[in-house]
């Protein structure tokens, strides 16, 4: 069980929470994630990357976007509420070393998990170039935090409402063309963005890592639901990853697999929203009676 200590809405659909989790805060390293469940009996298990941790307070920070039933329910919880199931830290920490120049690319909500990794690269003595992107200005998160770490920060939006009007792959390509080219890249964001980042760096032979966020059930290597094809081999994201060589990941297959339960998930989410609406009507009716 874990108590919500802090909650903030970062944009229309993006929330930040600090959760009480002293053991996880103690152990976690950049790149790792947790799994949580909103209801111990009937809840589903969803993985979320740990964006930050505070050992003193014994807390971890998660940043999530409402994309379905569980994230929606989570977003409706408030400070003081408890999350019944929280387990972690899971997955392998990012391998941090001094490589030279590292380009860190974050798309949308992917900026959150990217933050501790960029910080760790910086602490290890790398020159860190950060590119963050989103559809529009509203959806740009953690710009200030990133600016503190970055030797160079590039912000772009799809619609040009803030920063440069471009997809993140544009500046990434330019950086790859520099002389000397960067020594390493890491991209975290929507699968389609990671796929195109991989395609962008491939011709320049810049080793690129991606952090995959697949469907998961247990998160301990028991179910294989999180499997992806990496270089023709089956890998389990929860125990072999979550980070992999971007140039070897079969993104098309991964994206297809992410839609495995899409219809049912949407249906369940819809039911939930309807039940909320109904509850509201009843509440209002009761209110009227008084």
């Amino acid at each position: 069980m874990s108590k919500i200590l802090y909650k903030e809405q970062l944009s229309e659909n993006v929330f930040k929470m600090r959760l009480e989790a002293p053991l996880i805060a103690e152990e976690r390293k950049a790149g790792q994630f947790i799994i949580l469940q909103i209801d111990e009996e009937f809840g589903e298990r969803i993985p979320l990357t740990i964006a930050d941790a505070d050992k003193e307070e014994g807390s971890i920070t998660i940043i999530f976007q409402v994309v379905g039933l569980t994230t929606d329910e989570l977003s409706r919880l408030n400070v003081g509420d408890n999350i019944p199931v929280l387990v972690g830290p899971l997955g392998n920490p990012t391998h941090i070393d001094k490589y030279g120049t590292v380009v860190c690319v974050g798309g949308g909500i992917g900026v959150a998990p990217l933050h501790p990794i960029a910080q760790a690269y910086k602490n290890a003595g790398n020159k860190v170039i950060i590119i963050i992107g989103a559809r529009n200005k509203e959806l740009i998160i953690m710009e200030e935090e990133m600016r503190k770490i970055a030797d160079e920060l590039i912000v772009c939006t799809d619609d040009g409402s803030y920063g440069r009007k471009a997809l993140v792959t544009e500046p990434l390509k330019e950086i790859c063309e520099r002389n000397p080219k960067p020594d390493r890249a890491i991209a975290i964001g929507p699968p389609i963005m990671m796929k195109f980042c991989a395609e962008t760096t491939r011709p320049y032979n810049v080793y690129t890592e991606v952090s995959l966020n697949t469907i998961m059930v247990d998160g301990t290597g028991m179910c294989g639901g999180c499997r992806v094809d990496v270089g023709g081999q089956i890998k389990f994201v929860c125990v072999d990853g979550p980070e992999f060589d971007a140039h070897k990941v079969d993104f098309d297959n991964m994206m297809a697999r992410l839609t495995e339960f899409k219809d049912i998930e949407e249906e369940k989410h819809q039911c939930y929203l309807e039940s909320l609406a109904e509850a509201k009507i009843i509440e209002n009716e009761e209110g009227e009676e008084e």
């Binding site: 009996e41 009937f42 589903e44 387990v87 899971l90 639901g225 297959n253 495995e260």
Partner: protein
């Protein structure tokens, strides 16, 4: 052919009237004449729509008549072949005489989880394999139904409501960490706690019981049976920490060096489901049996109305494999609404490792078995979803190392079966979490933890047992290893206490 519980009970009743008056004068030839008492079960047509237990269990009269079939032979192969050596003839004699509490006491001397083992043990390859009664008829099918009797006794005791808790000795001040709450871990916890040591079970999941909870379905092993075992442990003072992944949430070495545990038992079970390595295995609609069953059981996806966890809406399912896991997945998919379910197995029914009763039940339920066939590749549609499997036909060749005849593919025999879901149930590798994070523990090339004859690992004060040592095995073998490990842990701690030696501990709080 399916016979209703009422019909079976009527037959048993008639036999009972006939045999009871002469129970102590029965000759072997009389006993052998008694027909095997079938396990009463739910009507196949009804049970495929619910999750209730399929096998209902003997009535008293059925149990006593079945028990009278035992000729109390001196060879006692049943005791020899039981992995924990239950004194079978003695408990069966008690059942024949209606002395169920005495029977329960005999079983519990050797086994801690009889209600579970009576339901899931592969008796036909263990205690019932060389039963003298079966030998007379030259078929294991006619052996005394030891497993059904064990279950009867365990259920009888549970239903009386006075399951006696084992006596717990006064506190010794020693602490033992048990990692994993499957049968191996539960048994270690019970045996170690009895000696007065404090015990904490760490479990990665939010629910306890290991495979018995997330893998084996309700219709074969109801959750309330597992709950009751866990409740007993709780009453004995065992502590539980769920949502705790040892190796990740806290290192095993930290438990021992910083948190003051004097010993640890690793019972983390099998893990890493194996895939066939064929084309199309990553298509949408291909699942490991572990994933499929975990969604349905642990995450309650069977209850489509309440559960948030989705399950794939399958119409035609192919399950690849021939073990218990394959049977469970096939039968679960039927209960989840599949219209047609195939089990594709590359050998014949005779070689199937699944419990016989499960195979029979699956057949009764209308599952179609495709023997001597195997998937060669899985075919997808333009959206990357499963559309069919392409299979090869097989024939049996010479026996291999396991003694089973080796299946050989017949060249050019390819054909396809249209399906929308494929469930792969061909076995498991080993759970990598502890070995990944605790290099001190030595493993073999398959990742199974290496132990000595006392279940001790290469790491000081750390023991292991169950599937993580054996590879995917059985509940009873996991339990047997747990008992051995507990005995060794108890002995080590007794020595510590005797020599007054206490491990240096640092209080982290």
């Amino acid at each position: 052919m399916y016979r209703t519980p009422e019909e079976l009970q009527q037959t048993a009743h008639n036999l009972f009237e006939e045999y009871l008056p002469k129970i102590d004068a029965l000759k072997n030839k009389d006993r052998i004449r008694i027909p095997v008492q079938e396990m009463p079960s739910q009507d196949p047509k009804e049970r495929v729509c619910n999750l209730e237990e399929v096998a209902i269990g003997y009535t008293e009269e059925e149990a006593r008549i079945e028990a009278m079939r035992c000729i109390q032979c001196p060879t006692q192969t049943c005791v020899r072949d039981c992995p924990v050596h239950i004194n079978v003839p003695v408990f069966i004699d008690h059942v024949a005489h209606g002395k169920y509490q005495e029977a329960a006491n005999v079983i519990k001397e050797a086994s801690l989880l009889p209600a579970i083992c009576g339901r899931v043990c592969p008796q036909e390859t263990q205690c019932q394999k060389d039963c003298s009664v079966g030998k007379v008829f030259k078929t294991v099918d006619k052996s005394v139904s030891i497993g059904r009797l064990e279950r009867f006794v365990a259920d009888w005791e549970r239903n009386t409501g006075v399951v006696q808790l084992p006596h717990v000795k006064p506190d010794t001040g020693k602490k033992v960490a048990v990692i994993g709450s499957g049968p191996a871990g539960l048994v270690v916890a019970a045996d170690v706690r009895r000696e007065g040591h404090s015990v904490t079970i760490f479990e990665a999941f939010h629910k306890l019981g290991g495979v018995m909870r997330y893998g084996i379905p309700e219709f074969r092993l109801p959750n309330n049976i597992i709950d009751q075992e866990i409740d007993s442990l709780r009453k004995m003072g065992v502590e539980f920490k769920t949502n705790f992944v040892v190796g990740r949430t806290r290192k095993l070495t930290d438990l021992l060096e910083k948190d003051g545990y004097d010993a640890a038992f690793v019972g983390t079970g099998a893990g890493l489901p194996l895939f066939m390595g064929i084309d199309g295995e990553n298509l949408v609609g291909v699942f490991s049996a572990n994933e499929y069953l975990t969604r349905a059981n642990l995450m309650r996806a069977f209850d489509k109305k309440h559960a948030d966890t989705p399950i794939y809406p399958s119409k035609i399912v192919a399950v690849l494999g021939g073990g218990n896991v394959a049977m469970d997945a096939a039968r679960m998919s039927l209960r989840l609404g599949a219209e047609k379910v195939y089990v594709v197995y590359r050998r014949t029914q005779k070689e199937m490792p699944a419990r016989k009763e499960e195979v029979e039940h699956a057949m009764e339920e209308g599952i179609e078995f495709r023997f001597l066939q195997n998937a060669k590749r899985i075919l997808g549609d333009e959206k990357g979803r499963v559309r069919a499997i392409e299979c090869l036909k097989y024939e049996l060749g010479e026996p291999d190392q396991s003694g089973r005849r080796r299946p050989i593919p017949i060249e050019g025999s390819e054909f396809t079966i249209d399906v929308d879901t494929v469930i792969v149930a061909i076995g498991n590798g080993s759970n990598p979490l502890i070995s990944q994070t605790t290099p001190e523990i030595k493993t073999n090339k398959w990742g199974n933890i290496i132990v000595d004859e006392n279940q001790k690992t290469s790491m000081d004060r750390v023991y292991a047992g169950g599937d993580i040592v054996l590879g995917a095995a059985t509940v009873i073998l996991a339990m047997g290893e747990g008992r051995k490990a507990a005995a060794a842990i108890n002995e080590m701690l007794a020595k510590d206490i005797e020599t007054g030696e206490s491990k240096k501990t640092v209080d982290v709080n």
